[in-house]
């Protein structure tokens, strides 16, 4: 990143290659739309290039800074296109999952994504960062610019809401063997 601050395009390319795919996945889950995810990812990296000198390594990790920029851009974009962004998801969100055996895989995924998309933005982002991106609670808190306690409160509320919303699907999942490390 120090080289990028000196306008080194090769260093920027290496940085891009290391992070672009992960950022696209995060944004796809956050926006629910591949085109939006691509555009926000592009804008975020151009912001990194143009504002590289603002990054202070002693204050925030690069990944945290990147996700913070991307999240803010995604929020701005969502505000501008509010009427279209969530329509696809909310079409499913008010429906309670039926008996799991009657739901095909694609519809099941739609219901799951809808349940996540209905979470308040900060809860959703906290969950995406910690669960999918594997950020530590501290790093996720830095992205959201909140304390770790506040981040954990967001995570807690998100998981409790999902447990309630997805109860029928969860009961089916619980019949499967537990794979979590103990």
């Amino acid at each position: 990143m120090a080289q990028v601050q000196r306008r080194d395009q090769e260093a920027f390319t290496r940085l891009l290659d290391r992070h672009v795919r992960g950022l696209q996945k995060f944004l796809l889950r956050m926006t629910g739309n591949a085109a939006d995810a691509d555009e926000v990812a592009q804008e975020a990296f151009l912001r990194i290039w143009s504002q590289a000198k603002r990054w202070q390594p002693d204050r925030v990790r690069f990944t945290t800074w990147l996700y913070r920029i991307a999240r803010n851009l995604a929020i701005d974009r969502h505000r501008k296109h509010r009427e279209t962004t969530d329509e696809d998801m909310t079409a499913f969100a008010d429906e309670a999952p039926d008996a799991p055996q009657l739901i095909d895989a694609e519809r099941r995924q739609q219901l799951l994504r809808a349940a996540v998309s209905r979470l308040p933005e900060r809860q959703r982002t906290a969950l995406l960062l910690c669960h999918f991106e594997g950020l530590s609670n501290q790093d996720a808190a830095d992205v959201l610019e909140v304390t770790v306690e506040a981040l954990e409160s967001l995570l807690s509320r998100a998981r409790r809401t999902l447990k309630t919303t997805l109860r029928p699907l969860l009961q089916a999942e619980e019949t499967l063997p537990c794979t979590t490390n103990q």
């Binding site: 795919r21 995924q109 910690c130 609670n137 103990q182």
Partner: protein
């Protein structure tokens, strides 16, 4: 938390805050949680439910083909354009060696020209010209008055 045994409620709250992968919890919480799991069927059920939720979330977004190559190309093209556009300016202000004196001279030229024009004094000839123009304008005004 270090001395007291963890309760089912505390464990459930930690599952919500930190997720079901106990290996990622701080060691003091992880140790207490493992002790509780060895004794409490309710804690094991809570862990199973939390793990099931994580498994569901993993299924929510299957591997979607991403247009990473296209996005990467667009970003690099934009960066190259920006770098080319700003390179002349950086050459100007950030030069070293012989480039810096050239930049200083180039910056001083308009300054000197402005100063030169500022201290320029009109010659006698140009004063005469201004007087002639003034007289003509006065004559026109007088003629206008006569017409009234």
């Amino acid at each position: 938390m270090h001395d007291k045994p963890m309760t089912d409620d505390e464990f459930d709250a930690l599952l919500d805050r930190r997720g079901p992968n106990i290996d990622r919890w701080p060691s003091e919480f992880a140790l207490a949680a493992r002790r509780l799991l060895a004794q409490s069927p309710q804690a094991r059920a809570q862990l199973k439910e939390a793990s099931a939720l994580d498994a569901l979330l993993d299924d929510a977004w299957p591997a979607v083909p991403l247009s990473t190559g296209a996005v990467r190309s667009r970003i690099l093209e934009a960066v190259a354009r920006d770098a080319a556009r700003s390179s002349w300016w950086r050459w100007f202000v950030g030069g070293t060696g012989m480039r810096r004196p050239i930049a200083i001279v180039a910056a001083l030229i308009p300054l000197c020209l402005g100063f030169a024009f500022g201290i320029y004094e009109p010659t006698a000839a140009s004063d005469d010209l201004v007087s002639d123009v003034s007289l003509l304008a006065f004559a026109d005004y007088e003629g206008y008055s006569d017409a009234d």
